[in-house]
């Protein structure tokens, strides 16, 4: 996994914008319609989800190699 995905669950309203714009299908909505990471390994840390999240609920940081 090359990225750290932080989700502020209290802010997520489950609009699905991050899921729709993820180019690698990393994200999905869970049964409560909140975002969850389903395939973290595929994340390329492009930040499309963070860029367009209207609720500032998801943040992606590229892992710095040690």
């Amino acid at each position: 996994m090359i990225s750290d995905i932080t989700i502020k669950m209290a802010r997520c309203k489950g609009c699905g914008i991050c899921v729709a714009f993820c180019p690698k299908q990393v994200l999905a909505l869970d049964e409560l319609s909140k975002v969850q990471v389903v395939n973290g390994e595929a994340c390329i840390a492009c930040g499309q989800c963070e860029l367009r999240c209207p609720d500032y609920a998801i943040f992606v940081d590229k892992k710095v190699s040690q």
């Binding site: 309203k13 609009c15 699905g16 714009f21 367009r52 999240c53 209207p54 609720d55 943040f59």
Partner: protein
């Protein structure tokens, strides 16, 4: 990692109350990122908003903020600017607030070239009051007061701003977040009336009535229909249907209102130049 723009929000007011998928949150983030980019201080920046969904933004932003009467954000902001010209005054307004209720106030502030940065969140509808058609509901699109489609032609508010005398006019969308941030930041640099239209999605009141119920669908619509200004200029007329241009439309240098007013004060005081 905590993002640096978070310091511009009133953390105890978040999450905001906009609907799931509402584009206002994206436009508000673009404003604070532009503020950060230009290094405007929280102590000398004032956010003024009118009434409507968009205008809730002032309550979430940690600056000196003013939530004013319907359509009257620009006159309040003009007052602040004239009393304290050193402040950066930003107006957040909506399509109904700015072009219907505050239509006259908007064109006259543009005419006077008051040094304000006006960001209009255009969601094409009166969202807060239940989805009535606004002066910027596109022709033929449905609203609760236009169940068979709006027959009024919408304003092209950027053209209106240019015709009224604004000295910086730009448009962007909630899909083009970085572009929107740049356009707003450019407005801060302009000394004079700067106007930025941010096209945002309203999935609740507008999208559900117009076959775009998912917020992401509306953003994909923006991605596909918005054309950058240089490409738009080359686009033949028959290909322009359903599409709209984004980018910087107009920029000019002209004496701003506070400077002109200072000169009048000097003259009235008997200062012969």
């Amino acid at each position: 990692m905590e993002r640096s723009f978070e310091k511009y929000f009133r953390q105890n007011r978040l999450p905001h109350l906009w609907c799931p998928g509402c584009g206002n949150g994206i436009a508000m983030k673009a404003i604070v990122m532009a503020i950060e980019k230009k290094g405007l201080s929280q102590d000398n920046t004032v956010i003024v908003s009118g009434i409507g969904c968009s205008s809730r933004a002032s309550g979430y932003m940690d600056f000196d903020t003013l939530h004013t009467a319907h359509g009257r954000a620009i006159p309040f902001a003009t007052g602040i600017k004239l009393a304290r010209p050193e402040l950066n005054v930003i107006v957040i307004t909506g399509d109904g607030d700015c072009t219907a209720i505050g239509g006259n106030l908007f064109i006259h502030a543009a005419r006077r070239n008051v040094d304000l940065t006006v960001v209009l969140f255009n969601n094409s509808i009166y969202g807060m009051t239940g989805g009535q058609a606004s002066p910027m509901t596109p022709y033929g699109k449905k609203a609760t007061t236009a169940p068979y489609g709006a027959i009024d032609r919408p304003f092209d508010v950027c053209q209106l701003a240019i015709a009224s005398g604004a000295t910086y006019v730009a448009r962007s969308t909630a899909f083009h977040v970085q572009h929107l941030t740049e356009m707003i930041a450019g407005g801060f640099d302009n000394q004079g009336f700067s106007f930025i239209e941010a096209v945002v999605q309203c999935p609740t009141a507008y999208g559900r009535k117009n076959k775009l119920p998912e917020p992401a669908d509306m953003m994909k619509w923006m991605r596909d229909q918005a054309i950058m200004k240089p490409a738009w200029d080359k686009l033949p007329a028959e290909k322009r249907e359903e599409k709209f241009p984004i980018g910087l439309f107009y920029s000019a240098q002209y004496e701003d209102y506070t400077t002109a007013y200072d000169e009048v004060i000097q003259r009235a005081g008997g200062d012969q130049k």
